[in-house]
């Protein structure tokens, strides 16, 4: 029983990482209606920028804010320069573009900061939380920030003009244009916001997994899985999906005899696919009806 509680707690702690990343995934999905394979790498790059700023003597919170601003601008810039010209190209060509971006960002980061791991500070400390050694104050802080971002995103998408316009632009671009939404800039804005949220995710994840160019490779897979499980249209679903994947993966690794430990990730993914077969829009997503 103690092992069970411990694994659930550890799963929640790891799940917070996935949840963070899943939020960024949902953000970009809301803006451009598909997934960005380079998102993890962009988050990693942002984290390196903030690390570099701190190396140059910039205090933590200033580097944090600066990084958010740089990432936001960087996201918009990438969209304007690289993906706006591809707006008319087939979707699959865009996906190839994401893969190219992935390769570029990863390679440039590797050459600039090399592949040895870097320590990344946390503002929350890493002492045990409320006497439980399984969850540290950093992980609690991470969950807190994730929830704050979640509330922020919810309010943004439900109640602000710009948030509504962005959703409209992604879901029904033709109609959105007709009612006067500048869909092209909505997409750029979505890139910027997704990039900034990714930066927050990277900054929160780095103290746990250590900063290096391949830091986000594994995280992104889990982030996608979490977002898809929870429902790509729902920020709340993405966060819940993150925690569920984290906990489930740990329990599968601990309790499925024989192959559980060796096949943690495949088992977790298989479960997600099973869920999707029965709830194709994810646990919290809205069902989509196709019109002919």
């Amino acid at each position: 029983m103690e092992l069970f509680t411990n694994q659930v707690l550890a799963g929640i702690a790891t799940g917070a990482i996935y949840a963070c990343m899943a939020l960024a995934v949902v953000m970009i999905y809301q803006a451009i209606d598909h997934l960005n394979f380079a998102q993890g790498e962009m988050a990693m790059f942002s984290t390196f920028i903030s690390w570099q700023l701190m190396q140059w003597g910039v205090p933590y919170w200033w580097s944090f804010l600066l990084t958010l601003a740089i990432s936001f601008a960087g996201g918009i810039l990438i969209e304007r320069l690289l993906f706006k010209p591809l707006a008319k190209a087939p979707v699959l060509t865009n996906v190839a573009g994401f893969i190219a971006l992935f390769a570029i960002v990863n390679s440039v980061a590797g050459l600039t900061w090399d592949f040895t791991i870097k320590q990344y500070p946390t503002p929350f400390g890493s002492s045990p939380f409320l006497g439980s050694q399984l969850i540290s104050t950093h992980q609690v802080g991470m969950i807190g920030v994730t929830l704050l971002m979640l509330i922020g995103l919810y309010l943004f998408f439900q109640f602000t003009r710009i948030g509504l316009a962005m959703r409209a632009a992604a879901a029904l671009p033709e109609s959105a244009r007709l009612v006067g939404v500048n869909t092209s800039w909505m997409i750029a804005l979505g890139w910027g916001m997704a990039s900034a949220i990714g930066a927050v995710a990277g900054i929160l994840i780095a103290p746990v997994v250590f900063l290096e160019p391949n830091m986000m490779g594994g995280v992104l897979v889990y982030g996608f899985a979490a977002a898809v499980l929870g429902g790509l249209s729902s920020p709340l679903g993405a966060v819940m999906g993150g925690f569920l994947v984290g906990v489930f993966e740990n329990l599968a690794g601990t309790y499925i005899p024989g192959v559980g430990n060796e096949l943690k990730l495949p088992i977790a993914l298989a479960l997600i696919i099973t869920v999707l077969v029965f709830k194709p829009a994810g646990l919290f997503g809205r069902a989509i009806v196709k019109r002919v």
Partner: protein
């Protein structure tokens, strides 16, 4: 016309040969493909891109080292032409690149290609072509097999003999230990695991209470550490690469698990593991070494370390000196230079292997005091000595004898 020319040429060559052999004073120059009076072509394959790109720095350091050798006059007057290709750690690509090196670039030998699966993929090919696959960059045990693969030679102490050293230490000092193991689920992790179990012998089954494996794609290994702690193990054998090693050390401290901690040599680096993990979390960890950790302050005034720094300043200034791979590459490049020098003017592939297989007590810059390179016609494992070390304060403290753990392939 061309036939006549050819015959004349052959005649002249025969005359020259006659003159050379009859005079006797002139040393005989013999070359295989890839060597000439002016240059020696060396091939190499590294994962510059892809999942193992962290090791690409080995190829870059080697390239820098051979530039230094060339700037200093080369080897017996010949310049090294170092041709290094990227295989992205994908065995089919390794095969393509190896064939390009042998058939298109026509190198004399393939030096220090990285990784067990890539090397396995090209081993049969290179042996059938009789091209040396010299000093492979992997710690697998199988490279020491001169009978079946006379053209393949290992380099570093192999994983199995290293973990046997830990096993013997545990049997001697902690015979009632309950051991928990965390290992990477690939050829490297499994090789360590096998050596460890062999070392414990009959007691392996009763002493090992839990074996946990992880995949490199996992973001964290927290859940494994939690499980290991609740298994009640009091000895922890940590078979992980630097990132996961640092995570494990940190997580152990966070959850208050304080077993006797054995860390594999792969991650025994102060700069890239112990420091990021936090010095206070890594106290008393036991590991082993065969070369000097450049980030260890005890070597600050060491002559070899100074030479290393000078070399990097001049030829590879952007290198990260905390990266153990840079030191690794520096040492293995010296090994190759030694072999090529020993070949003299007989730069045939057979002679390269012959010289590589007759190294006696060679000391190289960067190796720990007492660690020497030794090979013979039946021993294709150049480095097989290790020194146990324990982490104290901010340094590795060496203890005990230099240990040798030869495990045959």
């Amino acid at each position: 016309m061309s036939a006549i020319n050819l015959r004349l040429g052959a005649f002249a060559a025969a005359l020259a040969l006659l003159a050379a052999t009859s005079s006797g004073a002139l040393a005989q120059k013999k070359y295989d493909t890839g060597a000439s009076d002016t240059e020696i072509k060396i091939g190499n394959i590294m994962p510059y891109s892809g999942p193992a790109s962290a090791y690409g720095v080995i190829g870059k350091t080697e390239e820098a080292y051979f530039r230094k050798i060339n700037a200093e006059g080369g080897i017996n007057g010949r310049k090294i032409n170092f041709i290094s290709y990227d295989d992205a750690y994908s065995p089919p690509k390794t095969v393509e690149q190896a064939r390009k090196l042998v058939e298109s670039d026509e190198v004399l030998l393939v030096f220090n290609p990285l990784g067990t699966p890539p090397n396995t993929a090209i081993q049969k090919y290179l042996n059938s072509k009789k091209v040396p696959q010299l000093f492979v960059a992997t710690g697998a045990t199988k490279w020491n097999d001169p009978k079946d693969f006379p053209w393949t030679m290992g380099w570093q102490p192999n994983y199995q003999s290293e973990s046997q050293i830990y096993a013997k230490y545990i049997l001697k000092n902690h015979p009632n230990a309950k051991i928990g193991i965390l290992y990477q689920n690939d050829d490297y992790g499994k090789d360590y695991l096998k050596g460890f179990k062999d070392g414990l012998g009959a007691k392996a089954a009763s002493m090992i209470v839990l074996e946990e494996s992880y995949e490199v794609s996992q973001p964290t290994i927290d859940s494994h550490i939690v499980k290991l702690k609740s298994s009640g193990a009091d000895v922890f054998f940590n078979i992980t690469t630097p990132k996961f090693a640092a995570q494990a050390i940190k997580k152990n401290a966070e959850i208050g698990w304080k077993p006797l901690h054995f860390l594999n040599n792969v991650s025994a680096s102060i700069g890239s593991v112990m420091k990021p993990a936090g010095f206070e979390n890594g106290q008393d960890i036991i590991s082993s070494q065969y070369f000097k950790d450049p980030t260890d302050a005890q070597w600050k005034n060491d002559a070899a370390m100074k030479a290393w720094n000078e070399f990097l300043d001049k030829y590879y200034p952007e290198a990260n000196r905390a990266d153990a791979s840079v030191m690794y590459a520096y040492i293995v490049s010296q090994g190759l230079v030694h072999v090529l020098k020993a070949c003299g003017d007989d730069l045939t592939r057979a002679n390269v292997m012959k010289q590589a297989a007759s190294i006696k007590d060679l000391e190289l810059n960067g190796l720990l005091p007492g660690v020497k390179v030794n090979t013979s016609a039946t021993d294709f494992a150049p480095l097989s000595q290790l020194q146990l070390i324990r982490f104290k304060g901010e340094n590795w403290e060496r203890f005990g004898e230099i240990l040798s753990g030869d495990v045959g392939g």
